[in-house]
């Protein structure tokens, strides 16, 4: 279900966590778990971005040789 959360949603959640941590008056354990959540989120976001980058990179490469591009594209479907 985490997949359904959009990149922007997760980004917002991360921001919230950061600002919560910034306020500083939260219990340590909570802070820790929030932090971990944040790390996880940022990891996920990072990975989303990486995938996007990879996809883009791939598109870009494929773009030069269209046949290959089209093949892959049709495989994607």
């Amino acid at each position: 279900m985490a997949e359904k959360a959009s990149f922007e949603d997760n980004m917002n959640k991360l921001e919230q966590i950061v600002s919560e941590l910034e306020q500083g008056d939260i219990p340590l354990e909570k802070a820790l778990s929030e932090f971990q959540k944040g790390v996880k989120l940022s990891g996920e976001l990072q990975s989303t971005l990486k995938n996007a980058e990879k996809t883009l990179a791939k598109e870009m490469t494929d773009d030069d040789s269209e046949v290959a591009f089209e093949k892959e594209e049709s495989e994607d479907k």
Binding site: M11, V18, G24, I26, A31, G38, L56
Partner: protein, 446 residues
């Protein structure tokens, strides 16, 4: 006396008018003897007289030219004319318009009468029959012994020897002549193998020529189915026959010349016609050939490809335009597509990803910093408390040499009463403990 005197002129003029108005004096038939005649170049002035009287006569050139004999002094003549006055001399005189010798006067009168009659009947003005141009047989009614037939034969032989001359001998002089001539004319007309009829007689006096002035002859000529050439007398003689005939010839030779063409001329004519036919037909053919050639020269036949040349060009042009326009359409689309692809690439989410990565980086760093700060904070709090605790530590008192004692139960021994002899106690010092046994218990009072 109041008498009016006339001038001579007035009187003469009066008398002249009297003469001129008189119907009897307008045309007078007069016979007399020529007197005082001398041939003058133009108008003739002479007198006519008989045994008892004399009259002045004048004949103008126009009238005198028609006179067929030569007037001589003393010659008896028959004249017609009008009587008038010559005012200059006061003489009356006869203006003669016709004159002929006396003696034939009766015949002449008969001639004139017949001429008038036949003319009135229209015999002279009736349409003339055309002559056969190429006669085969020519009948000649004339005296077998005269020069007429000889001249005709000679001329015909010379000109057109293939024409057959057939003489119908006739008496041409005397009382029997007229009826003989008529008989022969009729005989000729009974046949139908003659093309032309010549009637002829040599020259002679009016009496000699008279048969040809007879009515039966005239009518026979007029009735002839065959065209008639008449040649009677000399050129100056004009007989009734001449007037009725279809053609009048001055001489027999002339008659023959009228009757037949010249054979060689005919041959030449035919030959010429033939040449003309050839030429005309050749011209016709040449004309048509030229006309045809002109059409055949048209570029249509010389270069028929010009009929569709323009089409070839047009199609080529259209083909070129067709490909060019498609090329243009493709190029336009290609350009537009390239622009779009370019813009697509420019606007690819790569930048967005980069941005987001940076944002993420910042957030990640912030996250780390914040948690570290938080922990630091907690650490500080803790350290503070630990320090405070340290300050309050009872161990610090002990470090000045104090100690406390606990019993075996671990309870701090505060009062002496809390222990007894032989209790096992423990002495807590700052840096350790010592186990001891109570030797003595002594309570002190305060």
């Amino acid at each position: 006396m109041g008498n009016d005197y006339l001038s001579v002129s007035d009187l003469t003029s009066y008398i002249k008018k009297k003469f001129d108005r008189d119907p009897y004096l307008d045309k007078v038939y007069l016979t007399g003897e020529i007197s005082n005649f001398r041939l003058r170049p133009a108008h003739q002035y002479f007198s006519l007289k008989d045994d008892n009287a004399k009259i002045s006569a004048i004949m103008f050139k126009s009238a005198f030219d028609k006179v067929k004999f030569r007037p001589e002094e003393g010659m008896k003549v028959l004249v017609t004319g009008r009587i008038s006055v010559y005012e200059a001399t006061g003489n009356y005189q006869i203006y003669i318009d016709h004159m002929e010798p006396d003696g034939v006067g009766a015949l002449y009168q008969a001639y004139e009468q017949l001429k008038k009659k036949l003319s009135a009947e229209g015999l002279f003005n009736a349409p003339k029959k055309p002559l056969e141009r190429y006669p085969k047989r020519i009948a000649v009614v004339t005296s077998p012994s005269g020069a007429v037939i000889r001249d005709i034969i000679t001329t015909t032989r010379r000109r057109y020897p293939i024409a057959q001359i057939v003489l119908y001998p006739a008496v041409v002089q005397g009382d029997a002549a007229a009826s003989d001539i008529v008989r022969q004319i009729n005989r000729v007309n009974e046949r139908d193998d003659f093309d032309t009829l010549i009637i002829g007689r040599g020259g002679g006096s009016i009496e000699d020529l008279w048969p040809f002035n007879e009515e039966i002859v005239a009518r026979a000529i007029f009735d002839s189915k065959i065209p008639v050439i008449s040649s009677v007398g000399h050129e100056t003689d004009t007989t009734i026959a001449d007037l009725v005939a279809d053609v009048r010839a001055a001489t027999p030779t002339a008659a023959a010349e009228l009757a037949v063409p010249v054979l060689t001329d005919v041959m030449t004519d035919i030959k010429n016609d033939q040449v003309r036919i050839f030429n005309a037909f050749r011209n016709k053919l040449n004309q048509l050939q030229q006309r045809l050639a002109k059409v055949q020269q048209s570029y249509i036949f010389k270069q028929p490809e010009r009929l569709y040349d323009s089409y070839v060009q047009k199609i080529d042009m259209l083909n070129e335009r067709l490909t060019n326009s498609l090329k243009e359409t493709i190029n336009q689309s290609d350009r537009k597509l390239n622009d779009l692809v370019y813009n697509l690439k420019i606007n690819s989410p790569k930048n967005m990803i980069k941005e987001q990565q940076q944002v993420l980086q910042v957030q990640g760093n912030q996250l780390k910093r914040n948690i570290m700060l938080l922990i630091q904070n907690k650490q500080n709090q803790l350290t503070q408390r630990v320090d405070a605790l340290d300050h309050l530590s009872p161990l610090k008192v002990m470090s000045r040499g104090f100690s406390f004692t606990t019993n075996s139960e671990g309870k701090v021994v505060k009062k002496i009463d809390d222990i007894q002899k032989n209790d096992d106690i423990e002495l807590k010092l700052i840096d350790g403990y010592a186990k001891a046994t109570v030797n003595e218990v002594k309570k002190e009072s305060k």
